[in-house]
């Protein structure tokens, strides 16, 4: 109901603009037939009833500078999720009003469980509904009372009835409208009045007016709509009067006006004050209108008609969502004016967020699909789904240019104030990479660290934004990150930060895999960055230099082993490396080497360090192979290792990703006919071994259904390894595979069992360690230690 109320509120605001415009224009239409004023109310009515209209280049709302259009085309000043915003705000298009309104809106407090704005909107919508019920009820009762009191009116002729309990004529009824007149009107008077009322009937006013009133009831909280209704009624009456004059000739003016007057004089016998009347009485202006009426010249009519039609279009149309000419707006493939104008404080403003995303370039061959917004609770996030439809442009050796995504997400962090996480998901629809999905996750924390400042400070002006784009351009020099670290967002959803931590290390890690020669451009780039880092005006501590230009520092790290090779070569070329440059190069090399660094003494000078450096060679181990007695368990181990192995079955195998070890939890196996289904949750983890040090390079915990067909000799052939889906589909996808293999009958209790188990990974972790140790022993690896982030080195064998 709150969302309906918000929709109504937005329509009301839109209509108010149109109403104000109509009220102003009516002033200039005083001298022309009132029918033009009358039809001008049509756009107001349309705006009050329909949230969406057509788009046109010519729209009243092009002048009212808001960025409130949603993706569906409706104008929304008050966002639908205003109740859920950390800092609720509306945008009615007039800054002063915005400021006043927004400063009065209560901010959500993190500690409170319900946002006060949510309560206010809830109460407001209840008041709104109560108002409608009261007004509607009152109107219906009044109508029924009137209807019953004129029941005894007596037939005059056709649809005309007379009665002595009324003083002014009126039309009543919806299907077969009747004209009711007071008893005892003179023949002369009656003829005009009947003509007037009959004209009302012919013009269907008896239906239009109640409908307009119904709309008024819905928008009862908006005084401008009340005013509009009053003026519309007046225009309706006057235009009806003019119709009568047109039909019966100008000569009757006097008698017609006199009839109206005498009717209202009769009424004034029970004169009471009218404190709410805001202008001269209606009858007065009607009479004045009648006596001043003359048939206007054809030319005036024609011009007014054209103007009126144009105005109706302008008032009814929404502005086209087009941006200003591209030449001015584009900056380094970014539509800078759209970026600045769609800057928003809230990710909940989907229209703006989508506009922002669409104002940014994507790598060739990739198109945007849907955008999902996580606006209900923190961390606020967005997932931008992309489709790769032309792989040749996108990948080089299977690598996607992630620089664009990184740049775009930094800009989004800058322009969308409250977003915490941005996911890019690319689905390959070319078939070239087996429909693989690639995921890239960026967090605000990550970006702020990388940039060394809050990127939101750039969102203040076009110029500042251009500076940010320039910086980003130089930071991500076509770094190609191998894309095969796919599905990074799967599985460990429960701890997003962990997942992202691994993501960052992986992103850097994977570049090392592409050990190619450093190109000349890369060398130049590294030198350029080094120069920038060394240029800082700071203390003699090398770390301060790095801190001052962290972006450049990170950019070198992004270049991976190419940078490492170059830097190590530089050490060899220079006789003494104990200068600032040497210190910075050492810091870079240490980070780039990671686990391959054999030197543990941190106090060494760069020259000594490089002399002692003998990077660990990676020892390549095969994936874990289980040897268990249980037939089902053996099947699960084989299938899971195959599923999560990075080298199996892929030719050419991607750059080395270490070996895979798995630890399954088996919930049950179900056999029907020749079909076997095993329901499991598998913890898989990949490791790389440098000399004696193992490091974990990624992993997942994913429930799955594994299906097999039984062969004649009693062995089983793997049919499918069906994993639970990601995010909001998680529960649903598990439910779907918790059924018997053939009959598809639900296996009761299984779903709950899986979910309950998923809450803790403790048992699987222990099993994984056991399996890992067993695997190392089987491969004759002794004295191995596992590097674990909080605990340091843990001896395994």
């Amino acid at each position: 109901m709150t969302s309906l109320f918000t929709d109504i509120l937005n329509m009301s605001i839109t209509a108010s603009y149109v109403a104000i415009a109509v009220i102003i224009i009516r002033i200039f239409l005083k001298k022309v037939p009132k029918v033009f004023s009358y039809v001008l109310w049509l756009p107001v009515l349309i705006r009050l009833v329909f949230p969406f209209t057509f788009s046109s280049n010519f729209s009243l709302f092009s002048f009212i500078k808001t960025n409130t259009q949603t993706s569906t085309g409706a104008l929304a000043y008050v966002p639908n999720n205003i109740g859920l915003m950390r800092n609720p705000s509306v945008d009615v298009g007039i800054n002063r009003i915005n400021n006043v309104v927004n400063s009065s809106l209560p901010a959500g407090k993190i500690a409170t469980s319900v946002n006060p704005m949510q309560i206010i909107m809830g109460i407001a919508s209840i008041i709104w509904v109560v108002g409608i019920v009261i007004l509607l009820g009152y109107s219906i009762i009044t109508y029924l009372k009137l209807k019953s009191s004129v029941r005894t009116a007596t037939l005059v002729k056709d649809n005309i009835f007379e009665t002595d309990i009324i003083t002014t004529p009126f039309v009543c009824g919806f299907i077969k409208p009747r004209i009711f007149v007071p008893v005892g009107m003179s023949e002369n008077e009656l003829s005009y009045i009947l003509e007037h009322e009959q004209t009302h009937i012919d013009r269907l006013d008896y239906l239009i007016k109640p409908f307009a009133f119904l709309v008024l009831i819905i928008h009862w909280f908006n005084p401008l709509i009340w005013l509009s209704f009053a003026l519309m009624s007046k225009d309706m009456e006057m235009s009806c009067d003019e119709s009568v004059l047109k039909k019966m000739g100008n000569d009757i003016k006097g008698s017609y006006a006199n009839s109206l007057l005498s009717l209202s004089v009769k009424r004034s016998r029970v004169l009471i004050g009218s404190p709410l009347a805001f202008s001269e009485s209606k009858i007065k202006s009607r009479i004045k209108n009648i006596i001043s009426y003359k048939k206007p010249a054809f030319g005036i009519i024609a011009i007014t008609m054209i103007v009126t039609i144009a105005l109706i279009v302008v008032f009814t149309a929404n502005p086209k969502n087009e941006q200003s000419p591209i030449s001015e707006a584009m900056y380094a493939k970014y539509n800078i004016s759209s970026l600045i104008s769609n800057k928003t404080l809230y990710i909940g403003n989907s229209g703006k967020v989508v506009a922002l995303i669409d104002a940014m370039p994507l790598p060739a061959g990739i198109v945007r699909d849907t955008v999902e917004l996580q606006t209900l609770k923190e961390p606020y996030g967005m997932t931008i789904n992309l489709t790769m439809n032309d792989a040749s442009n996108v990948t080089v050796r299977g690598a996607i240019d992630t620089g664009t995504f990184y740049r775009n997400s930094i800009l989004l962090f800058s322009l969308v104030d409250n977003v915490d996480i941005i996911n890019y998901k690319v689905v390959d629809s070319t078939g070239k990479y087996d429909g693989a999905a690639y995921g890239f996750t960026y967090t605000r924390e990550m970006v702020d660290k990388l940039m060394g400042e809050d990127v939101r400070t750039y969102a203040v002006s076009t110029d500042k934004l251009k500076i940010l784009i320039d910086r980003l351009k130089s930071m991500f020099v076509d770094v190609k990150v191998d894309s095969s670290y796919n599905d990074t967002t799967t599985a460990i959803e429960t701890d997003v930060t962990t997942a992202i931590a691994t993501e960052t290390t992986k992103a850097i890690d994977t570049t090392t895999a592409i050990a190619t020669d450093t190109t000349k451009e890369e060398k130049d780039q590294i030198e350029k960055y080094l120069k920038v880092i060394m240029s800082a005006d700071t203390s003699s501590n090398p770390n301060d230099y790095i801190k001052a230009h962290d972006i450049e520092y990170q950019s070198i790290l992004k270049m991976g082993d190419n940078a490492l090779n170059y830097l190590l070569a530089q050490f060899e070329e220079t006789p003494n490396n104990n200068d600032l440059r040497g210190h910075i190069m050492m810091a870079l090399c240490k980070e780039l080497l990671g686990d391959r660094n054999n030197v543990t003494d941190e106090s060494l000078s760069p020259q000594d360090w490089v002399l002692q450096l003998k990077p660990y060679e990676e020892i390549e181990l095969s994936d874990f192979h289980a040897n268990v007695s249980d037939k089902i368990e053996q099947l699960v181990y084989d299938a899971a290792v195959k599923q999560y192995s990075q080298s199996n079955g892929k030719k050419p195998s991607p750059p080395d990703y270490g070996f895979t070890v798995v630890a399954p939890t088996i919930f049950g196996s179900y056999e029907e006919g020749n079909n076997l289904k095993i329901i499991v949750t598998v913890y898989s983890s990949r490791f790389r071994l440098y000399e004696k040090t193992l490091s974990n390079v990624g992993g997942s915990v994913i429930p799955a259904a594994i299906t097999y067909t039984k062969n004649a000799d009693g062995s089983y052939t793997l049919d499918e390894y069906l994993e639970a889906k990601d995010g909001s589909y998680f529960g649903k996808s598990i439910k779907e595979f918790c059924v018997m293999p053939v009959s598809k009958k639900e296996i009761t209790g299984l779903y709950d069992k899986i979910l309950k188990d998923y809450a803790s990974n403790k048992n699987r972790s222990e099993l994984l360690m056991e399996n890992l140790i067993e695997h190392l022993k089987a491969n004759n690896q002794k004295g191995i230690v596992l590097k674990q982030i909080p605990d340091g080195l843990v001896p395994l064998t």
């Binding site: 007004l135 109107s139 009044t142 109508y143 009137l146 009191s149 004129v150 029941r151 005894t152 009116a153 007596t154 037939l155 009835f161 007379e162 009665t163 002595d164 309990i165 009324i166 003083t167 002014t168 009126f170 039309v171 009543c172 009711f180 008893v183 006013d205 008896y206 007016k209 109640p210 009133f213 009340w226 009053a230 009624s233 007046k234 003016k253 006097g254 006006a257 006199n258 007057l261 209202s264 004089v265 009424r267 004034s268 029970v270 004169l271 009471i272 009218s274 404190p275 709410l276 009347a277 805001f278 202008s279 009485s281 209606k282 009858i283 007065k284 009479i287 004045k288 006596i291 001043s292």
Partner: protein
Amino acid sequence: MEQYKLFDAEYKFASIVWENEPINSTELVKLSLDKLGWKKSTTYTVLRKLCERGILRNEDAMVSSVVKKEDSQKYESQTVIEKTFNGSLPQFLTAFLGESKITKKEAEELKRIIEEATK
């Protein structure tokens, strides 16, 4: 002699009875529909009221008058319904919408304006 006061609708209805009495009630319904445009229920309601006031009499579906035409008087209703727009809108709106009564002074002024304009 006391004059019986009849409202417009009642007077018209009674007139049908005076002209046709004694009249079968079914016949009366038919005539009321033709002449007054009344529904059956309306006719019976008014008939019952007039019988209660002792103006008409309804015995065994035959209707006749008790009070004669000469003894009655057409009377204007006191309970005037203030007309509201086209009869379908609540009364409180009339004031707001300016569709209210005019003062005597205003009426005279308007009258003068009309006369001047149509001279």
